[in-house]
Symmetry: C2
Subunit: 196 residues, 2 copies
DNA sequence: GTCTATACTTTGATAGAC
DNA sequence: GTCTATCAAAGTATAGAC
């Protein structure tokens, strides 16, 4: 029986290389060399490069899930949770060396919509949209789906702009999200503001 | 002695294939077959695939420039020009078959920051940011750079979400941009609104 | 017996030659 | 325009080490 840690070690190495150089630019041999494992071992755990890339994307998806969950427990108000989500994503997106979010960049590298890698990445974004819509609905916004789409624009815009945006850009995005959430709730807050 | 139209024909073919299947996924042979020109002809016009890809990106950059210029002549008010820009980008971004904006996807495919293709794509986005900042400043906004960043989030978010967003998403983005521009001008309009 | 390391096969792509 | 050289990458198989 093979050591179960080997799979994780391989996936760790592959993830690091994929994040930095892109998926197609990294060869299996490079992963093997960097990992220090034999070629046989890798192909036992991952039948093909596609399988390895899919595992990588699933890990990235889990990473997003942790981010999302952490945002949800960070506050009781759904609006505050969404702001925290934007803040957390911004921190990653503008970090030096960040490169557009692994799911989006990998999706760009696998344009063929029939390819398993493409399908996994695409499914991720469907899920993300559903999750953000759920949280947007919980804010009690007048039009939760429109609110969700606005927040998705901010989130994906953040990833796309990346390090070029810098810390200031990340703060801008957070303030932006706050404004969006404030103005998306016309019944209560807007009246209070007008009464000032 | 060679027909000058040949270069354009090759670039037309390459652009179409790159847009649809991605740059790395398209081989030179495929371009040659699709174009109907000889291999010699192609390599006389473009010394290497990198050169061809750079020419493709420059054409995409010119395309953006036309979009930007058209938005600028569409209205006299800079704020209206920016809204028109968002509308025009949205129309492209959510069109069926669109795939994230050719500059961004190609940048994702060429992660190496030393690669000529990467540098050309990166330079494009620096230019775009400068242009949007210029237009944002012309609106007389209190903080034009912050306004520009907010609009860039919308623009890139639009490209990233693509056809999944659909026509409704494009309309959401336009309304979003309108709100952003409205609230970015505190001196005049905000006072008018409060006086209502 | 599973791990590492390496040699080999095949495929496909860029590029050049005629 | 076809044919060919070169190279890199994905897999497969094999040889050796703990």
């Amino acid at each position: 029986m093979p050591t179960p840690a080997a799979r994780d070690r391989i996936l760790d190495t592959a993830s690091r290389l994929f994040d930095r150089y892109g998926v197609r630019a990294v060869g299996m041999q490079q992963i093997i060399d960097d990992c220090g494992c034999g070629k046989n071992t890798l192909y036992r755990r991952f039948a093909s490069k596609d399988d390895l890339v899919v595992a990588y994307l699933r890990r990235c998806g889990d990473d997003w899930q942790r981010l999302f969950d952490a945002a949800q427990v960070s506050a009781s108000d759904p609006a505050d949770q969404l702001v925290e989500l934007v803040r957390a994503v911004g921190a990653r997106a503008v970090a030096p060396g960040a490169r557009g979010g692994p799911l989006r960049t990998t999706l760009a590298e696998y344009a063929d919509s029939g390819h398993p890698v493409h399908r996994v990445a695409e499914a991720h974004f469907v899920r993300v949209r559903t999750q953000v819509r759920g949280l947007a609905a919980a804010t009690g916004a007048a039009d939760p789906d429109e609110l969700a789409d606005r927040l998705l624009l901010i989130l994906d815009g953040l990833y796309a702009n990346g390090p070029a945006f810098g810390e200031a850009g990340a703060r801008t995005a957070v303030a932006f999200a706050e404004d969006v959430l404030r103005s998306a709730r016309p019944p209560a807050r807007a009246l209070i503001r007008r009464s000032c």
